[in-house]
């Protein structure tokens, strides 16, 4: 998919969630039920959109002009470019991650977009990576990868952290 395809496709569509996510499907999760890490994954489930969630893309394109920087004593020209960003306008059924996702700004980088870091609590944060895929039946699917960081040891000063990546899916609407 070309860069323009991603930018055009994502902003020219409305999306709806069908509630599908890897966290809701045991076959995608590497931890057995009695593994403490499975509990950390399961605890995050209410952050994922259920079915009945609609998403509109609110896009913004800014042109950044050419500028010069000093590079080892020589001026170097940085060419003008367009910064493409968007936010999500989320409606429909409520879920725990709605406020955070609504506040996030996504920056388009090539054929994907990446969110600003979302701090959910003093011990939990997530970054969202957005890609578009075309399913075997020809329908376009938005795949959102949530890259989690969860500090699981709450002893003051501890930095023991658990990382996890889970996906949730949206379909083009209608």
């Amino acid at each position: 998919m070309s860069v323009n395809d991603f930018w055009m496709d994502i902003q020219n569509s409305e999306w709806h969630s069908v509630g599908g996510s890897t966290v809701r499907n045991k076959q995608f999760n590497p931890f057995s039920d009695d593994d403490w890490r499975a509990g950390l994954v399961r605890d995050n489930e209410p952050y994922y959109p259920p079915s009945g969630v609609h998403i509109k893309i609110k896009s913004q394109e800014e042109t950044r002009g050419e500028y010069s920087v000093d590079h080892h004593g020589k001026p170097e020209q940085v060419p003008a470019t367009k910064l493409r960003t968007f936010t999500l306008e989320i409606s429909g059924d409520d879920f725990l991650g709605k406020e955070a996702l609504s506040a996030a700004r996504f920056l388009v980088v090539g054929d994907h977009a990446i969110s600003s870091p979302l701090t959910l609590s003093s011990t939990k944060s997530v970054v969202v990576l957005v890609r578009l895929y075309t399913a075997s039946d020809g329908k376009q699917v938005m795949v959102n990868e949530l890259i989690w960081s969860v500090q699981y040891d709450k002893t003051p000063g501890s930095t023991k952290t658990f990382y996890d990546i889970q996906k949730w899916f949206c379909c083009r609407y209608p």
Partner: protein, 505 residues
């Protein structure tokens, strides 16, 4: 047969085989259900493993609901042993008062007790512990050692309900100040009683117009609560106040499904459910503290809606899980329970329903449709039988077969508690899940009936106007309703993150 003390034979009582009498909304006209205990145990285990159905109201309502449940189920037994944690049928032989009178706050609050501030009408408060600085005054329950000096020990069983109880103590002290300003001639005890009355009236109004609005099907809330109509229960205030068994053993137990996995308490602390139970007097504060640690004080902006307050920059606010058959709560102390070895709360609730000889969900709906259809239509309450897929939580592309996988008979003959939870999954309102029409009707009629039974309730008295209501409700423009955040603002003058008060030395 032993009669329940203080009750007579005229009411709608049902009698269990061991002689215990229970109040029923349906006048014994609905056949009692019978279930295979093995099937119920399978179902309880299956409910534990269901996936969470996302979120509903703010998480504070989960614990306001628990606070209400403790108030409604306060045991008034002579020589009542406060360590008794739950009902057994033996206890139900005693007089159980179900008035919404904040007995959990005020029982035992006599002058000279540790619950009162010495020589005044104020309730006593405790201090929150700071590990390396001065305590934060007035942010914990009053304690004698670890044990909370409050009307009902159960309100110190988890951190959030414990902190909520503190807020009602503060609200009492707010009204002491307000009333003493207006009526300086009042003596200490009259002032105490006047403040107590106002706290109760405000609490009742919040239950009706805030808590129940967030929980009930909109049509039921409008008809039964807002317009004060009834279908099932129109009690005379001379009758004793007893909670209907359909509420206490089934529909009223929706809050068990709303318990979240984790909560952000404030800007610096988030906790799991198990930590909620550790960080109380009963949990011995995790063995680390002598009283509530200041790092764990609740920032109420994360638990209730404060319409005029900006929440930008705060951690994610806590929402309750949506009411559904997914109930994953394990009880720690199960020794005093009817089935001592059962720690899975879902299984325990199903067995309790059987023990109380409740009707099935289908029998209850059929009874309503056969006897009250015109009234239901008039009030636009859309009660109907759930179909098999709705009961089994089967949706296109995602079938769970919850009941059929335990026993196909459960799909045609469903425990009332499970039925009410499954009914809550059928619709959403303004994006959030609420109880369905049957569950809502049982809850609404029970609470409305209890308030009608109490001559001192908000149905007969008006509250002071010191606290301005702020809750907006869809389709009722121009009206504001009292909500929990209004009480919290009054009790605290302003609202902020309490951990910001920690002064490190």
């Amino acid at each position: 047969m032993e009669l329940v003390r203080g009750l007579n034979e005229k009411g709608q009582f049902k009698t269990l085989p061991d002689g215990v009498k229970l109040y029923t909304l349906f006048n014994n006209k609905v056949p009692q259900a019978d279930f295979d205990v093995t099937d119920l145990r399978k179902l309880g285990a299956a409910m534990r493993d269901l996936q969470a159905s996302n979120v509903s109201a703010m998480a504070g309502y989960t614990y306001l609901g628990q606070f209400l449940a403790h108030d409604l189920s306060r045991l008034r037994i002579e020589g009542h042993n406060k360590t008794v944690k739950s009902f057994t049928t033996d206890i139900l032989r005693s007089d159980v008062s179900s008035v919404l009178d904040l007995s959990s706050v005020y029982d035992g609050a006599i002058a000279g007790s540790l619950m009162r501030k010495t020589g005044s009408a104020f309730m006593a408060l405790g201090d929150a512990q700071v590990s390396d600085g001065p305590d934060i005054v007035g942010y914990d329950l009053p304690r004698n050692g670890l044990r909370a000096c409050i009307g009902d020990d159960r309100n110190d069983e988890n951190l959030i309900v414990s902190q909520l109880h503190v807020q009602f103590l503060k609200l009492h002290n707010f009204f002491v100040r307000e009333i003493s300003h207006d009526s300086p001639e009042l003596g200490t005890e009259l002032l105490f009683e006047a403040a107590r009355e106002q706290v109760i009236l405000h609490y009742q109004e919040v239950i009706l117009h805030d808590f129940l609005y967030e929980i009930l099907h909109p049509a039921v809330w409008k008809a039964i609560i807002l317009e004060n109509k009834h279908i099932l229960w129109d009690p005379d205030p001379s009758e004793p106040a007893v909670l209907p068994v359909e509420y206490s053993a089934a529909a009223g137990r929706f809050g068990h499904a709303m318990v979240q996995n984790n909560y952000n308490l404030n800007a610096v602390t988030s906790v799991s459910v198990s930590e909620l139970f550790e960080m109380t007097g009963e949990g011995r504060f995790g063995g680390k503290y002598q009283r509530m640690p200041a790092t764990h004080l609740v920032d109420w902006r994360l638990f209730f809606d404060f319409p005029k307050h900006n929440t930008r920059g705060l951690p994610t606010r806590n929402k309750a899980l949506r009411i559904s058959p997914r109930v994953r709560v394990d009880l720690i102390n199960t020794q005093s329970l009817p089935v001592p070895e059962e720690s899975n709360l879902a299984t325990r609730n199903l067995l309790r329903g059987l023990q109380m000889r409740l009707s099935s969900g289908q029998a209850t709906v059929n009874h309503l449709l056969n006897n009250y259809q015109a009234r239901l239509l008039e009030l636009e309450i859309p009660i109907c039988l759930l179909n098999r897929d709705q009961l089994n939580l089967n949706k296109p592309g995602f079938s769970q077969h919850v009941l059929d996988s335990c026993s196909p008979a459960l799909s045609t003959h469903t425990p009332l508690w499970y039925y009410v939870l499954a009914e809550a999954c059928v619709e959403t309102f303004e994006g959030i899940g609420k109880l369905g029409p049957l569950g809502s009707l049982i809850v609404a009629e029970s609470i409305r009936g209890l308030l009608q039974l109490d001559r001192d309730s908000i149905m007969y008295k008006t509250r002071r106007q010191d606290i301005a209501p702020s809750k907006n409700i869809a389709n009722l423009p121009g009206r504001k309703f009292l909500q929990m955040s209004d009480l919290l603002l009054a009790a605290n003058n302003s609202i902020s993150d309490p951990t910001s008060f920690i002064i490190r030395q």
